[in-house]
């Protein structure tokens, strides 16, 4: 039988930007099985918050997992109060990660992230560079960037955009890519839906495809409730089907996603 819930011990939990926290957890089972692009479901101690919070895996290091999350509501507010030694309930890593088989040694990859979609790019960058792939990371924020140094350390060539123009390029990641004429053999992204949509259109125009990590409100996070669907057009049959983000995703091919599905 597969294991679902595990206990994790907080090793550190610090604020790395306004309302953004980086938490490192010790949990051998989860860390050993984790892949880049997967997520974990975190359970709240305040049981009035019934549902687990899905958070992407940002970094895997032996028995340790690092998560980076934005404080946006009661659940992530609770998370922000945890400190060294606290125990928390978590699911094993869930979903399919990014498919790294699409690129080979010597090829290049563009990894693109927006806001709180940036964290999963870190492990992704590391995994790609480990394979001998040249990684360029393009990350966009409203105002305050984060994870820049770790991305560079993981081996990425880094481009930063902010909506406010306070750091890096003044504008969004697609504009930045256009201006800098950034291209690669493979594309990977994570971020808000509108960004992923624009990005997919941009990449498809270049006759390439892109792996994007989708976000959706979840009930169970393991495929039982059919709450988290995303409409996908089957390449062969052309039929639209609703697939589960938690189980069939969260990573899908941009070309498959039906953006205007009702």
């Amino acid at each position: 039988m597969e294991k679902y819930r595990v206990e994790a011990r907080v090793l550190s939990n610090e604020c790395i930007a306004k309302d953004v926290y980086q938490m490192t957890l010790e949990c051998v089972d989860a860390a050993l099985s984790a892949k880049c692009g997967q997520f974990v479901n975190l359970y709240m101690k305040n049981e009035s918050l019934l549902l687990p919070r899905p958070i992407s895996i940002c970094w895997i290091d032996g028995a340790k997992l690092t998560l980076v999350y934005g404080m946006v509501g009661k659940g992530t507010e609770e998370l922000s109060t945890y400190g060294f030694g606290d125990l928390l309930q978590m699911s094993m890593p869930r979903g399919n990660g990014y498919d790294l088989e699409v690129v080979k040694e010597g090829q290049s990859a563009l990894v693109i992230g927006g806001g709180i979609g940036v964290p999963p790019l870190l492990e992704l960058t590391y995994a790609l560079t480990q394979k001998g792939i040249k990684v360029t990371a393009v990350i966009g924020f409203q105002e305050e960037p984060f994870l820049m140094k770790p991305l560079i350390k993981a081996g990425a060539d880094l481009y930063v955009a902010t909506d406010s123009g306070t750091s890096g390029f003044h504008g969004n990641v697609v504009d930045l890519m256009e201006q800098e004429k950034l291209t690669a053999d493979a594309y990977f992204a994570c971020g808000p839906k509108p960004m992923l949509n624009a990005l997919t259109n941009f990449v498809l125009q270049q006759k390439k495809d892109i792996q994007i990590s989708m976000e959706e409100r979840m009930g169970c996070g393991y495929g039982a409730c059919v709450g988290c669907v995303c409409t996908i057009r089957d390449k062969e049959s052309g039929l639209e089907v609703r697939k589960k983000v938690c189980k069939d995703g969260p990573v899908f091919w941009g070309s498959e996603v039906v953006w205007d599905a009702k």
Partner: protein
Amino acid sequence: MQNNNNPSNKEIENEDLDLRVKIAGVEWKNPITTASGTFSAKESSAFYDLGKLGAVTTKGVSDVPWSGNPTPRIAETYGGMLNAVGLQNPGVEAFISEEIPYIKKYDTKLIANVAGHTLEEYCRTVEKLNDTDVDMMEINISCPNVKEGGIGFGTDAKMAAEVTKAVKSLTKKPIIIKLTPNVTSISEIAKAVEAEGADAVSLINTLLGMRIDVRRGRTVLANKTGGLSGPSVKPVAVRMVYEVRKAVRIPIIGLGGIMTGEDAAEFLMAGANAVAIGTAALINPTAPIDILEGLKTYMKEMGFQNIQQIQNAFCD
């Protein structure tokens, strides 16, 4: 009250427990089943042996595939959740070819939950399930998330009776009617379906609810309203089981917010013959078997050796 059912005062072992219940002539090895829509044979069986449950109840199935509602379909609420999945399902043919054989590998009873917009749709699906290995059928006349369907039948005693009658005339398999809590008198509906031959009732389905995101000025669910479930609704569910128990003689499958073995016992005391685990299983896939274990622990601590003893221990 402790040990009053165990005069010898000898410690009760697991093997002394008899958890069997008979629901409409079908024997379950224990009174625990899954709640429709919160269980997926394929996903859930990765985490526990389905053969440990008294029965499994599958997601609502309709005569043709349904694509369900747009997203967001899920919203968290205080101690509960709203869902507006809208009965997305691949249709009864896919259910028959894939789901039934998959579940039938396990030593458990199979309850197929049936959805429909019209009387004819219910009937078509029931007919198609008639010659399958399904052990019981649960007719969902109470889904709040499908327009012009489901709940309309569940909120009107006459229509509820009509569906029951039609379905009963088509099949020999035991028919469970799933009732909605969104009514003035659930016992009136229960009586109406019992009169038309329902073999059992299950209750409650979800309470109709809504949540607005006041920062965005729109409902959290794309469907606007959704069904409220989880521990926050348990007091309403227990009260309804208690009311329906006084109104009908057929077995009751109780559900609504069961999170622990003692919650399950609460429904049994209120008058249920079996219980179903819904939202708890979304939060933790192994909830149905964890709750079964919790029920056993409770029984041992209280000195109960069978389910009947739990039911009898309630001083109404």
